[in-house]
Assembly symmetry: C2
């Protein structure tokens, strides 16, 4: 157990990055402790994440495009061009943003694995969008026309700047993978318009949904124009002073009650909170503003310590899709929005680059395996928007033809009225490589483990390693040097926090125990040289902080980075996941994990208080647990991650 | 522990009630197992509820009127008359209803304790309201004028019929306490208009918020006109077939996904659910429709068994102010809206009258002491809208001048944007007497205990008893017969379910143990004869059903009908109510209840999972518990009802 430190970021002077020929960086800070690698520098070839990337390429991206044509969100741009708005507008006020997120996913996917068919579709989409842009750069299908609300008349809820943010991010993706093209031109015109309207002397406000901040910084990095970064600074500094006015959910809903520099912890709408924080880190990095980065890293540390689910999921409340109070983390109705998990990964990645602290990579791993991987169905054609940790009653099958309400969480749905999550999953999976490894002047750091290849240009030349592993099925990660340079360089591997004891490193036949954190081998590597990291991949019990009332008397099982769950499909008795108690037994035979449990005698009382301890069956059943990310792929079921424990086992 | 029976209502032929000269009945069914008593037949003279009634008369009613003048909700009627709508309209779409609930409270209060000043104010209000009624009987300040939405254009959210419902209930209160007057005339015109517009051949829909159903039945009972009851029947039968269309919260939010006859359990918006159920019982009673009453009583039984807080509070979710799933009853952020508690009391009272089953009176008692009594501050000038069972962080002091958001629950607020609760508390306190006792052809039943007098006209003549008690401070209830009749009659007393063992009855010097339920003494009583019921009033531990995850490893303390809580104001250490464990010790010395607890060593971890058992202090502190209804009257505090228990104590 690591004590909470709320200032993991120290005021070290960050090194300016020297650029190589690679350009496909999802995030490309000008300074930082670690350098990002481009999508072309990290190949994921086999195993869990390669399958997910393949699912994205073959199913998810297509699915998103098909649905957005079907529900008319793409058609809104055509309707704008043809003067059919507002009559023919479809979808919520922010639907444009999902078309942009789809574009971004397509652009990164093409950058990762060139695909002419996809490129043609991307260019067709860009043309339809560009046609709808107005002469002054304004672009939004929901506002500004006769019969529509005026431009920028509803900054609280209108999402106009949020939509621009996603447009800019799509343009950065396209620019960095295919060079300046029409999409970049559209984005530049929109960004210039935005800076004019919201710049100094313009409207002194912000968007109800943060997003444009990090997009502006990245667009500034891409174009080399500081005015976009200046505009991001204005937005970051304005926020927190009540500029948006009050709403029934309170100003903290959109983080407008406290400036980002002064806040102690994340609160309000979880996606808004993590997007804002990611933008603040981006700005802090460009401004060399250690205080700002430290403020955000402190907020994240407190949020991880007190307001984050075991899965890495964030956001406890359905109401306001928001964080709860410290230690208020109910499993049932956990909101844990997929987009909040993705935003948390974006934020943790930025802090990893800025600080080099691999605890951020730990959180990325946890969230990837247990939030991002949980969202899509096995066929890539249905998604979770919320990711509950406890499903009491098997859900009903969502309509295959109609969008579902966003907060339905019993079974994955093909589309939602508010469908931010599927396109967010798509762009995340397309950019996965960047999260897996980084470099520095003198070394290569591998943070996430998958079969594949990583290369990096260090100050002394290019180095590369091939990685071979069945991770997370087993814990052995074999790295072979495939390219090296003259002299010594550092190969750093992350030893996850869950591998606190038992991790071993084998270099040149010598085996040593390695502690959690970063383990670095520095030597003059030769091609073919092998380094093997062995992580103790075995199921383990996890107990919750005693202040989390919702989890008292319960334990979860984790195996490596994967959170397991009990699904009713696997339970004998009446298939309930609630009327039972687990014993202390836990077995893991080559990854087949089982727990022992007793069932509670059925009883149906008129009043659920003043109740005796339940009678437990003498018989003990052994029941398999499955990865949480795989649940509900076998039809409607109930499920729980946290398992009630026999009192005897508790006392031990 | 009573096993759950979902059919407490048996198909007995209900007796038609013969009327006496009393008229001040809040509910006046034409048939039923028990007869209601009028407010003039039950006097509450001393003790807890007398103080609450006095608070209502001296503070709460005035407070509601003052605020509704201040925020302009009463002024809306003047603005309507003066043609200043919609420009000058204030408040939410349903604000008219709160003016009507105030009128209802005033009318019952005048009926309970004549008050000329209040009567003058009531008549002045009625004049202002009547002036705004339109020629065809339509009355609503939010719809129908130029610049406003058309009448009945938003049945999902417009609350027009809900407002009529409260108008009709106010008129019934006035009519039954002061006779037909202008308010009754206004209501009759509105009801006739409503029957015309929504009757057979009219708009085939219902109101998004049930309420008008029970109001129409009662107005039909009052006027003797069956057309109002027929209209209620149309509304009850139409609902549940999706007539309102879909909304993001789902059709179950307003109980329009399943007809009331077919539903298994209460779900959706809690106030809507209990109001609808109360109206269905009213209709079932008038129609001699045992099937309908049985459907509702079954739903209530399942709801009480699985979806009700220890306090009697209903509604687990802030989102949608709705019921959760079975056993989903988190203490933190318990919604438990005051109005849902009041609606539950209304429903339980109707079922008590229909069936004679005193378990309904048990639930009324629990809800009165722990929801209704919790809402108003000690000075009657601030209220809880939601009634959380666990406050993690002391709240901030609500604005004394501005309405608060409705769901703020950290400290009582003087008024809310949605302020249904204060006026609901006011009308409930004014009608309290009716809930306390009932009669039948051959006897008098006392259900709730307070110093006061009860009289009833039985078939053989009038009987009366004087009650003397310090209940709930102690458990002795002394009844003296003050009026009797020739021959035998029944005096029935409720022995609460919590007094399962240890209750004693003393009649004529003979003491006998009496079980929970109804205990009846049948004899030819003489004036001055004394009957003493002794209830075991001592603090007791209460354990939750093991399926309530949120309460695992915790126990609550109850004393008689009163739920106790731990308030940070009383806690040594750092004043936290969360970082502690209670032992098995529980002491009750003349009502001063204390528990023993150990504090947990402070620790602040980076990740709240994978945690060792906390270190507990060797030192044990004895800390007082206070009645939950009294909490947060000593400034901002944190609070919890359910106390984490040492593992050793759990095993016992």
């Amino acid at each position: 157990m690591t004590p909470l430190s709320t200032t993991p970021y120290l005021e070290t002077t960050m090194l300016a990055h020297t650029h190589t020929s690679a350009t496909a960086f999802p995030v490309d800070p000008s300074t930082g402790t670690l350098r990002p690698l481009a999508l072309t520098e990290v190949r994921i070839d086999g195993g869990f994440w390669a399958q997910m990337q393949e699912l994205n390429a073959s199913a998810i991206i297509d699915h998103c495009e098909t649905w957005m044509e079907k529900v008319g969100w793409i058609g809104n741009f055509d309707a704008a061009v043809e003067g059919r708005l507002p009559a023919d507008r479809r979808g919520r006020e922010f639907s444009d943003s999902d078309v942009y997120k789809l574009l971004e996913a397509m652009a990164w996917e093409i950058g990762r694995a060139p695909n002419e068919r996809l490129d043609t579709r991307l260019r067709a989409l860009v043309r339809r969008i560009g046609a709808a842009q107005e002469a002054d750069g304004y672009l939004n299908t929901r506002f500004g026309r006769t019969g529509q609300d005026p431009r920028y008349s509803d900054l609280q809820w209108g999402h106009e700047l949020y939509c621009y943010g996603h447009l800019l991010q799509a343009a950065v993706a396209r620019g960095r993978t295919a060079g300046d093209d029409e999409l970049v031109t559209i984005a530049r015109r929109a960004a210039d318009h935005l800076c004019e309207v919201f710049g100094v002397g313009g409207i002194e406000s912000v968007c109800g949904h943060p997003e444009v901040e990090m997009a502006l910084v990245e667009f500034g990095r891409y174009t080399g124009e500081s005015r976009y970064i200046d505009q991001a600074r204005l937005f970051i500094d304005r926020r927190g002073h009540g500029v948006l006015g009050d709403i029934e959910l309170g100003q903290s809903y959109f983080q407008d009650e406290t400036p980002v520099r002064d806040a102690e912890v994340m609160r309000g709408h979880a996606v808004r909170a993590v997007y804002l924080a990611a933008g603040a880190v981006d700005l802090g990095v460009e401004d060399d503003d250690a205080e700002l980065i430290q403020a955000v890293s402190g907020q994240l540390a407190r949020t991880v310590a007190r307001r984050t689910y075991l899965t890495g999921g964030m956001g406890a409340h359905h109401e306001g899709e928001s964080f709860g109070a410290d230690y208020e983390l109910p499993s049932d109705r956990a909101y844990s929005e997929t987009c909040a998990g993705i935003g948390s990964i974006m934020l943790n990645y930025r802090l990893l680059l800025a600080t080099g602290d691999v605890t951020y990579a730990d959180m990325i791993e946890r969230t990837l395996y247990n939030v991002v991987a949980t969202s899509p169905a096995a066929d890539g054609k249905a998604f979770y928007y919320t990711n509950t940790l406890h499903q009491r009653v098997p859900g009903s099958v969502p309509s295959p033809d109609e969008p579902s309400p966003r907060a339905s969480s019993s079974l994955r749905a093909p589309w939602f009225d508010v469908s931010c999550c599927p396109t967010n999953v798509a762009r995340t999976l397309a950019t996965l490589g960047a999260y897996f490894a980084t470099s520095s002047a003198s070394g290569l750091q591998v943070h996430q483990y998958s079969t594949g290849d990583v290369s990096a240009v260090l100050d002394g030349g290019t180095v590369a390693v091939h990685v071979e592993t069945n991770y997370p099925a087993d814990g052995e990660v074999r790295l072979v040097v495939t390219e090296t340079l003259d002299g010594e360089w550092d190969l750093s591997l992350r030893v996850p926090a869950w591998a606190e004891t038992g991790a071993q490193l084998r270099v040149g036949g010598e085996v040593s125990e390695v502690p959690a954190g970063t383990t670095t081998v520095r030597r003059a590597f030769t091609v073919g040289e092998e380094i093997v990291l062995s992580l103790p991949m075995v199921a383990r019990w996890t107990s919750p902080d005693p202040r989390i009332d919702a989890l008292r008397g319960q334990r979860a099982v984790e195996r490596g980075p994967v959170v397991l769950c009990l699904e009713s499909t696997d339970v004998p008795f009446d298939g309930s996941v609630d009327d039972l108690r687990v014993t202390e037994e836990l077995s893991d035979v080559d990854g087949v994990v089982t727990v022992s449990l007793r069932s509670m005698a059925a009883r149906d009382l008129a009043w659920p208080y003043g109740v005796d301890a339940p009678e437990l069956s003498a018989e003990i059943a052994r029941v398999p647990l499955v990865p949480y990310h795989s649940w509900a792929n076998r039809g409607p079921s109930s499920m729980r991650i946290w398992l009630p424990v026999e009192v005897d086992a508790l006392a031990s």
